[in-house]
């Protein structure tokens, strides 16, 4: 009985100890991964992402999505592919990087452009 009664207290303590990325009180140590962010150079969106990524990862590099051909992926443990603009603009004019067939780097595709890239690669994660 005692152990059951202590469960809620233990759960509360555990939740206080778990780091939360959103709130302050999250881990002070950066995550030990290098990130390569390919987006729209000079855009406010790129600046926002880079600031956020730099505050959480040990190394962050960036490049232009329009010029991304997979070779730049060697600069990061994880690659992020992103672009700014309204959905309709990204659909009509956003860059569509052509990745080589043997591309196998861990990659996060983001938003509309991400879904379109996944469509191009015939992935289940494509834009419906």
């Amino acid at each position: 009985m005692k152990s059951i009664a202590l469960w809620p207290l233990a759960a509360c303590l555990m939740s206080l100890l778990m780091p939360s990325a959103g709130a302050r009180g999250q881990t002070d140590q950066k995550l030990n991964l290098s990130i390569f962010y390919a987006g729209h150079p000079g855009s406010a969106r790129e600046a926002d992402f880079l600031q956020f990524l730099n505050s959480h990862f040990t190394h962050v590099d960036s490049g232009d999505l329009a010029k991304f051909d997979g070779s730049q992926a060697a600069k990061g443990d994880v690659v992020l592919l992103d672009y700014d603009g309204e959905a309709i603009d990204v659909m009509q004019h956003g860059p569509r990087p052509a990745l080589p067939g043997n591309y196998s780097r861990p990659t996060v595709t983001i938003g509309v452009v991400g879904g379109l890239i996944c469509n191009q690669l015939r992935l289940k994660t494509g834009y419906m």
């Binding site: 778990m18 939360s20 990325a21 861990p106 938003g111 992935l123 994660t125």
Partner: protein, 289 residues
């Protein structure tokens, strides 16, 4: 998609590590449009959601098709997105091989605390899939969605739509009673497949062989067994080729292939209505930290 993920965070590591994702859960009304889709009728009046971002818009983010997502071991839905107008179960954040699609469109400044934690966890999580390219690529809709499409083929303005998905004869025959045709397909859903032209077909050849499902490994056992029975051997050989993409030429070779690969076989509608083999060492063990 809206600003919200749908459903409570699961026990998946992507909600637990390195950051605990602790969203504020809300109840939003179930979109009426979703009730038309397969699985939509049983939805409750309200859905549990949590805000990933605050874009101030109810559009602009993207979802991926949920039907058939789980039919290959290289893919998983990490969270469904609250997306009125899209089928229930559509993926807001999902992974296929070494690619993880974050369907939410806002930059970090507009993400909620829970959204930021989830996004960072996704980056950390996908790193485990370095070198794990997708095992299949999208070739077709899964059979559940195909039957849904057949049932509404008479609603499309394009008169060729029906012919493209069921062939011109059936499309003509059921031009104004698409729901009846869908009901026929539904009765035989375990035998539906998609041919090379993109038409969905009920596999009468398997039916004649007494086989009731084309996506169970037991079908392969039975077909290999039938290779040794002359009246059925040709049909069994054709079916084996159709569902594996292989053209082995003796019963012994089929048996060897089946024995060697049995524990690693999976069937994917989306990948082309075929069996595939998971390469040795491909699967990544989940973290229970």
């Amino acid at each position: 998609m809206s600003d919200a993920a749908q459903g409570e965070p699961s026990q998946h590591e992507v909600f637990r590590t390195p950051f605990k994702v602790q969203p504020k859960l809300e109840k939003w009304p179930t979109p009426d449009q979703q009730r038309e889709y397969p699985g939509g009728k049983d939805l409750p009046d309200q859905l549990t959601v949590w805000r990933v971002q605050n874009s101030g818009k109810d559009y602009g983010s993207v979802v991926s098709m949920g039907y058939g997502f789980g039919d290959s071991p290289d893919a998983e839905i990490l969270t469904v997105g609250y997306a009125p107008g899209k089928p229930p179960g559509s993926a807001g954040v999902s992974r296929h091989g070494n690619f993880l699609q974050w369907g939410f469109s806002s930059p970090p400044a507009q993400m909620t605390d829970a959204g930021k934690a989830f996004f960072l966890n996704c980056i950390v999580y996908v790193h485990k899939f370095d070198g794990k390219r997708p095992l299949i690529h999208v070739q077709s809709s899964d059979r559940t969605y195909a039957v849904y499409l057949i049932g509404i083929m008479d609603r499309f303005n394009d008169p060729q739509f029906g012919a493209r998905i069921v062939g011109s004869d059936l499309a003509k025959q059921y031009a104004d009673k698409a729901k009846d045709l869908a009901a026929l397909y539904l009765q035989q859903i375990e035998l539906v497949y998609c041919d090379g032209q993109g038409q969905f077909i009920i596999d009468k050849q398997l039916q004649d062989l007494g086989i009731t499902s084309n996506r169970k490994v037991e079908m392969l056992d039975k077909l290999v067994n039938l290779l040794g029975q002359p009246p059925y051997a040709d049909a069994a050989q054709q079916a084996l080729q159709r569902y594996t993409g292989l053209s082995l030429n003796t019963p012994q070779r089929w048996q060897q292939w089946l024995t060697a690969n049995r524990p690693r076989l999976f069937f994917s509608d989306v990948g082309g209505y075929k069996f595939f083999v998971i390469p040795e060492g491909y699967l990544v063990a989940p973290s229970f930290r």
